[in-house]
Symmetry: C2
Subunit: 295 residues, 2 copies
């Protein structure tokens, strides 16, 4: 009998589900828009149903948008908690999937799972610890794999809300974060760019000054992550971060801000191998979810 695993990337905009044993063996894959919790979760269950009916599915992993409750001792473990996304606050995503599929379900934040996916599936990453994943898109989030496990804690990392230097003279934009105004996400997320420049990030020309400013804010965030975690590698994912040339601009600004303080060859000479694109492209999360189901 076949023995497959399931991966679910539960995003605020779309869901991606796979059945298989890894990036090299995908037997089914689907993606659909995130609508109401009931309809969306029903689509997840329907996708996996043929495999569970035949007893072929062993376990499932979920990479969820958040914030989520990761405390296994909490009555709301596996819930999406205080998301501003309408109708999704308080949804028991883990429980509903588990009850419908009658299978073990692993659960973590989208970014922790993406970090795990890049760490688990890419051989050259397997020995790197701490290992970070940062996404810059509709929101900014970080996932961390530290001392052999994903980082949990009081809640989970929320480094998208870092307080970073903001030069009000050079950039009088007040930021879009409803909680903090000009925190990192308030200044540098996709919606922040759209609001500041009056058009979406994806239509801003390659040579628009927007990208210098964006590189600067992301570089400041990476500098703080480097000082906090001393990571051995940082994967920089998310739609905004894939803008042509942006990785290069960010890397040189990271070096400029560190200014020689960290005497590591990774930072001084090999920064192209230190701050990298996701090797799994836009499937770090869903294959990370699959890996979580497997271990």
């Amino acid at each position: 009998m076949n023995r497959w695993y399931g991966g679910i990337e539960a995003g605020g905009t779309k869901f991606v589900c796979v059945v298989g044993t890894g990036p090299g063996e995908v037997v089914a894959e689907t993606r659909f828009s995130t609508t109401s919790p009931d309809e969306t979760i029903r689509q997840v269950i329907e996708f996996f149903e043929p495999y569970t009916r035949r007893g072929e599915l062993v376990a499932v992993g979920i990479a969820s948008f958040g914030p989520v409750d990761l405390n296994p001792a909490s009555p709301t473990y596996g819930y999406i908690t205080t998301t501003p996304k309408p109708n999704w606050g308080g949804v028991d995503l883990h429980g509903q999937v588990q009850h419908a599929l009658h299978l073990p379900v692993a659960f973590d934040t989208d970014v922790n799972v993406a970090a795990f996916g890049e760490h688990y599936w890419i051989p050259e990453n397997r020995l790197l610890d701490p290992f970070l994943y940062i996404t810059v898109g509709t929101g900014i989030g970080i996932g961390a794999f530290v001392n052999g496990r994903p980082l949990h804690g009081l809640i989970h990392a929320e480094a998208g809300h870092f307080a970073i230097p903001h030069n009000w003279e050079g950039d009088p934009f007040p930021g879009v974060c409803p909680y903090h105004g000009d925190c990192l996400e308030g200044l540098a997320s996709g919606p922040a760019m759209a609001r500041r420049w009056g058009e979406p990030a994806e239509t801003l020309p390659v040579d628009h000054p927007a990208w210098n400013l964006e590189a600067e804010y992301i570089a400041l965030a990476l500098v703080n992550l480097i000082y906090a975690f001393s990571p051995q590698r940082i994967v920089l994912g998310g739609g905004v971060a894939q803008h042509p040339g942006l990785h290069e601009m960010i890397r040189s600004r990271v070096q400029r801000h560190l200014n020689g303080y960290l005497r590591s060859p990774m930072v001084l000479e090999k920064i192209d191998d230190y701050i990298v694109k996701p090797a799994l492209g836009n499937r770090s999360g869903v294959f990370g979810a699959l890996a979580m189901a497997m271990i």
Copy 2:
């Protein structure tokens, strides 16, 4: 026969050494100024010599000022590396102590060891993970205990050099960090306060505006640490941080900056139990070193 352990807190200003089995059983203790490496390490060896001669000492732990090399595979493992402290750069602290005492020697940064000491010896801390220690004094450093172990990585945490918001109009002081100017340490270390206000932190009156500014910068650092690590507790140590009333000012500013975003009772209601003074006072490091020798 007695079986004792040794703890060494190797600071840039002074060394502290103990022999015993923990805070409740100290059979010998000494502290002396940090002078030349040769003289200082000779004093360390002489202090432990009676116990090693009688075969009573099992192992020793060192909590070292830094930066240090923590990579066990490196030829300079256990060295102090690029410290600005004269004559101490390139000193093989771990190796010299190990060769002289012929004992196993555990080695980590002063702040990682202080975090470990507070975590290991204080029962209510034992289950808290991630667990952070931050010291604000001559320098600013953080130690982190994450997923059951101290945080290492490319080098080790250097969050004293966080890039934080600096309101140049309200505080035109350019900072004292030779690498970054107005990074956290450049703005908020003891030497930064002394330079900005023209007198040492310890003589500034309790109601001097210096303390509001200091609370603000430390609060911004803690906010970033909270977003990065989602720690379950933060110990705030170091000489500057013990100024009367400063902890209270910092706690309320942390809450103000988080602005309700993290819906955790620890942050919203129990912040006095979340950001705390070192339970071991100024001996977190030396007893952490002792604990490292024991495990």
